[in-house]
Every structure is written in structure tokens, then in C-alpha cells.
């Protein structure tokens, strides 16, 4: 088991399988708020579903309405379990907090080197830690 320190942005603890992208996400427009499927054809994750996953992406972008889309995803039971950013910005930070989705950023080891799709990780947004299950690294 590996524990990596990071900065806490939104409180709470959750575990799930990693879904990783190197591209920023605009929750307004890129994500279907009913299903959690990435609907932007040009996005690296096009067609994939973020529901229940630990979504790892560099940062948010686009309209500030994206914060509310995260809230809608929670209401529709289609939200990611937790999120990890390289560097969080206000749209995703605010969206995560109002939705109660754990969010951390600035991991002490680069998540894009360390993590791959399908890894099981536990994000602790209260303590500021990411725990990677044994045998994966």
C-alpha cells in the first residue's frame, strides 16, 4: 500500500477505479449530466463514463456553470467517486465542494506517472492523502 500526500480541496473519502486523462475537462458541454458519459467527440475520454470512478485530470476549464453540472451529476447518481487534479481551479473546486465529492491536487508524486486506468485508489480529501492499493506499483 502506498500513501501519497497531496493538497486537500474538497473534504470526504472515497475509493474507486482510476479513469485518467491528460486533457482538461469542461463539465459544461463535455459531460452528460444525466449519465456521466463524456460526450465531447474531441476529448480523449469520449464515450467513457465517469460515474463511480476516481477521475484524474489536469484541471477544469470552460464555463463556471460546470460547478453546477457536478452537482447535477451527484443528484443523478452519475458523479465520479472522487477527483484528483494536477492543479485545481475554481470551477471544479467549487463544484466538488457543493456536491460533496472528495477532491485533492498537487500530489507529491505526479499522478500521471504513477496512476493508470483501472488502478484502485482511495482519495482522502479530509486528510489530504491518496492511497494506492497493494500490488499495483
Amino acid at each position: 500500500m502506498t500513501i501519497i500526500k497531496c493538497r486537500k480541496i474538497s473534504r470526504g473519502v472515497a475509493e474507486g477505479h482510476v479513469l485518467l486523462t491528460h486533457e482538461a475537462i469542461s463539465f459544461l458541454g463535455n459531460v452528460d449530466p444525466k449519465t456521466g458519459v463524456i460526450v465531447e467527440p474531441k476529448h480523449e475520454l469520449f464515450g467513457q463514463c465517469i460515474k463511480g470512478r476516481v477521475l484524474v485530470f489536469p484541471h477544469g476549464k470552460g464555463s463556471t456553470v460546470g460547478s453546477y453540472v457536478l452537482y447535477q451529476l451527484i443528484k443523478n447518481n452519475a458523479a465520479p467517486a472522487a477527483m484528483i487534479n494536477a492543479e485545481s481551479e475554481p470551477i471544479v473546486a467549487v463544484g466538488a465542494i457543493i456536491s460533496g465529492i472528495p477532491l485533492v491536487d498537487r500530489m507529491e508524486r505526479d499522478p500521471f506517472d504513477l496512476l493508470k486506468n483501472g488502478d484502485i485508489v482511495r482519495v482522502d480529501g479530509t486528510a489530504g492523502e491518496v492511497e494506492i492499493s497493494e500490488g499495483q506499483n
Partner: protein, 397 residues
């Protein structure tokens, strides 16, 4: 970030879930931007009001909140005139959802006067050095630049969080060092009226989100500065600008001229009038004329009433203002509406879906020119107040 004992308790949830989330938002933003503490704010202005903008997602969030704001808080324009929406061509379903959003904000103790010019309203007349948590980009630009108050460009949820907690995180434009100009904009010819909106439209694209200082000929009025700032915030992301010898911080601080800068030529201003984002075909007539972006001041209403006196408009014309200002000047409103123009309150041409029903809009606002084509899918032309009114009085020939 340093938190007081009370703030720490709030963050631990001792005062309920709504306040816990509110302060968590402020703390998270403070951490992201390197704030040292939370500071009290005098008022909040909350964006995220039009159903067109926030949709069901936003409505659900606001409806779920419980509590009361601790400081005066007011709303950004909604998607319709809250009383005369039917005359605007708003459908019943939209009106119902819009009313639900307003009601949800009202339950939190927020003033439901919807305006982008809160500084004209009682209780929101911010002063020099006041810390605020305002959202709407032109109001932020006016408060920082023309009044010398201090606010970041808050998102809807962070402004609401500030209203509930009565504080905001101390970063960005709350700090002296972030308010110094870093580039100069020089204009060597006289400007008047809508020229300032055109200047903002041109200069904002170059300035982006930096703090400029303008070196102008002449002394712009408050309304002219309002147009300049609104356009700077829309075509760029300017939240604070200075005008040498005019705006309060430039007068008091005597800033050194920044090394970086550019000059705006007369031709660049004229170009905005000639083409704007021209309606398809160069001479296409406008089928709607809108003024009041940002919302009209009393002086602007008086000017419009004078220009329309004894005349009759032949095209749809909206004069957008806040309900409080309209109610304060019933004679001016009567005179304007006597011409057939509509005094539209609580909303504007940018955030209302009603503008989608038109083909080509004429505006006297650099901000509207920047937003209407993209956000409403309606072509736009630019003119002075006089040219806009002339267009409204003419028929299509």
C-alpha cells in the same frame, strides 16, 4: 490559511451543512490563490440567476440550501422581466423555472432585485476601499475601477458562500500589490459616449486579464467609464482598470507609467461602428434595438427620454435598467414607453432567451457587442445612443 476559532467551528459543521459548505468553498479558493485569511465583506452580488445560464443544475443546488445571508446580497440579471415576461415573448415553462430560482434565492434572504448595476441601489452603494464579493463582470470592473472598492470576479457559488459567511478569502484584487497597473493604453484623440464601449471592445482583447492604465484626452463621465469597463471585462477579462487623473486610485497613487503598452488609433474605434460583428450583408437593418448594457443609470434614462420625446419607434426597442431605478423615475419610464419603446427590468439582451427571436440587434454597448452574437446567436451592429434611437425610429428603408 489562518482561520479564527469561529471559522474553524463553521468548517467543522457546528453551524450546519450549508454554512460548512459555504466556508469550505471560501477556504478552498483561498488555498488555491494563496490567501492568508478570510476578511469581512460589505455586500455580495450573486451571479447564476438566469435559468438560461444555470439551468436545472443550478436551480437544484440553490433550492437545497438552508440558511440566511449575513450581509446585504443581491442578484445578477435574470432571464426575463419578472413582471412583464409575457410581453417579451418568454414561454411559460421558462418563466416558471425562472421564478423558482428567484424564490429559492429569496428564501436565503437575498434581495431579488436583479441587476448588473447594484451600485445605483440603496444598500449597495459601495465606497472607496470597501471589500466586496461581487460576481457580474461589469459590476466588478466598476466597483474596483470607478469606485475604488475591492472585489475579485466571484463565481455564483463563491459569491453566495461569501454572503452566507459574511467574508471572503483575502487574495487577488483585495491586495494592494495586485491592483497596480502593468500596461498602458494610450488614446490621443477625444472620445465620447459609445466611443468608450468601442475602446473597451478593442482594448480588452489585447489586455486579457491584466490591469491596465489608460491615458486619455478629456475626462470621461461615470456612465462612460461604466461602458468602458463592461466592454473590457467582456472582450477581455479585465476586473480593474485605471484612468490617469480620473479614477480614484490613479488620482491618489500617481502610478508610474508601465513599460509595456499600446496605442489605440481612431481608425480602430471607427471600425467597431462600421462592422461590429456585422449583420449578414453590410446594410442589413436591425430588427431590435437594445440599450442599457450595463443597466441604465438615471442620467441615461433621462437622456433616452429626451431623445424619444414626441417620437414613435417603429421597431422593437428595449431600454434595460434595474427595477429600483425604474421605480424611482416613473415619469422618465412613462416618457420612454410613450414612444413605444419598452423599459425592460430585471434582465438584459444578453441573458434573456427572448433575444433569440430576432435576426439582427443594434446596440450601443461594447459588452453586448462582444456577447450577443455568440451567446444569443443574433448578429449585432454597433452605434451611439443617437444612432440606436434613429434606427428604432426609422422603418426598414
Amino acid at each position: 490559511m489562518y482561520l479564527t476559532t469561529e471559522e474553524e467551528k463553521t468548517l467543522q459543521g457546528e453551524y450546519g451543512e450549508t454554512l460548512r459548505k459555504a466556508i469550505e468553498i471560501l477556504v478552498a479558493l483561498g488555498d488555491i490563490y494563496g490567501a492568508d485569511s478570510l476578511i469581512p465583506v460589505r455586500s455580495a452580488q450573486i451571479a447564476g440567476v438566469s435559468y438560461k445560464t444555470i439551468g436545472d443544475a443550478g436551480l437544484e443546488w440553490i433550492s437545497d440550501l438552508k440558511g440566511r445571508v449575513r450581509i446585504p446580497a443581491i442578484l445578477n440579471p435574470a432571464g426575463m422581466d419578472m413582471i412583464r415576461w409575457q410581453e417579451m415573448g418568454i414561454d411559460r415553462e421558462f418563466a416558471k423555472k425562472q421564478q423558482e430560482i428567484i424564490d429559492a434565492y429569496e428564501r436565503l434572504g437575498i434581495s431579488t432585485k436583479c441587476t448588473c448595476t447594484p451600485y445605483y441601489l440603496e444598500g449597495f452603494d459601495a465606497g472607496y476601499g470597501d471589500h466586496l464579493a461581487w460576481s457580474e463582470s461589469s459590476a466588478v470592473c466598476y466597483a474596483n475601477s470607478v469606485i475604488g472598492a475591492r472585489t475579485n470576479r466571484e463565481g455564483g457559488p463563491s459569491a453566495l458562500a461569501a454572503a452566507l459567511v459574511g467574508k471572503t478569502a483575502n487574495y487577488g484584487y483585495h491586495l494592494d500589490e495586485m491592483r497596480e497597473p502593468v500596461m498602458s493604453v494610450t488614446v490621443d484623440f477625444e472620445l465620447s459616449g459609445s466611443d468608450y464601449g468601442a475602446l473597451g471592445y478593442v482594448a480588452g482583447k489585447v489586455i486579457g486579464n491584466r490591469v491596465p492604465i489608460f491615458y486619455l484626452k478629456g475626462h470621461p463621465s461615470g456612465d462612460e467609464l461604466k461602458s468602458l469597463g463592461a466592454a473590457l471585462a467582456a472582450s477581455g477579462a479585465v476586473a480593474l482598470y485605471h484612468v490617469e487623473d480620473v479614477t480614484p486610485e490613479a488620482v491618489m497613487s500617481k502610478f508610474e507609467r508601465p513599460g509595456e503598452g499600446f496605442t489605440v488609433e481612431r481608425e480602430q474605434i471607427m471600425e467597431v461602428y462600421k462592422t461590429g460583428t456585422a449583420c449578414a450583408g453590410e446594410r442589413q437593418a436591425a430588427d431590435i434595438i437594445t440599450v442599457g448594457c450595463p443597466h441604465c443609470s438615471p442620467a441615461e434614462l433621462e437622456n433616452i427620454a429626451g431623445l424619444l420625446a414626441g417620437r414613435h419607434v417603429r421597431k422593437e426597442m428595449w431600454v434595460c435598467t434595474s427595477r429600483e431605478v425604474a421605480e424611482r423615475y416613473p415619469d422618465l419610464v412613462r416618457n420612454i414607453e410613450g414612444s413605444g419603446a419598452k423599459v425592460v427590468c430585471d434582465t438584459c439582451m444578453v441573458v434573456s432567451p427572448a433575444t433569440n427571436n430576432y435576426r439582427c440587434m443594434m446596440v450601443n454597448s461594447g459588452k453586448a457587442l462582444a456577447y450577443v452574437p455568440g451567446m444569443c446567436g443574433v448578429a449585432s451592429r454597433y452605434g451611439s445612443m443617437g444612432q440606436c434611437i434613429k434606427e428604432a425610429l426609422d422603418d426598414d428603408n
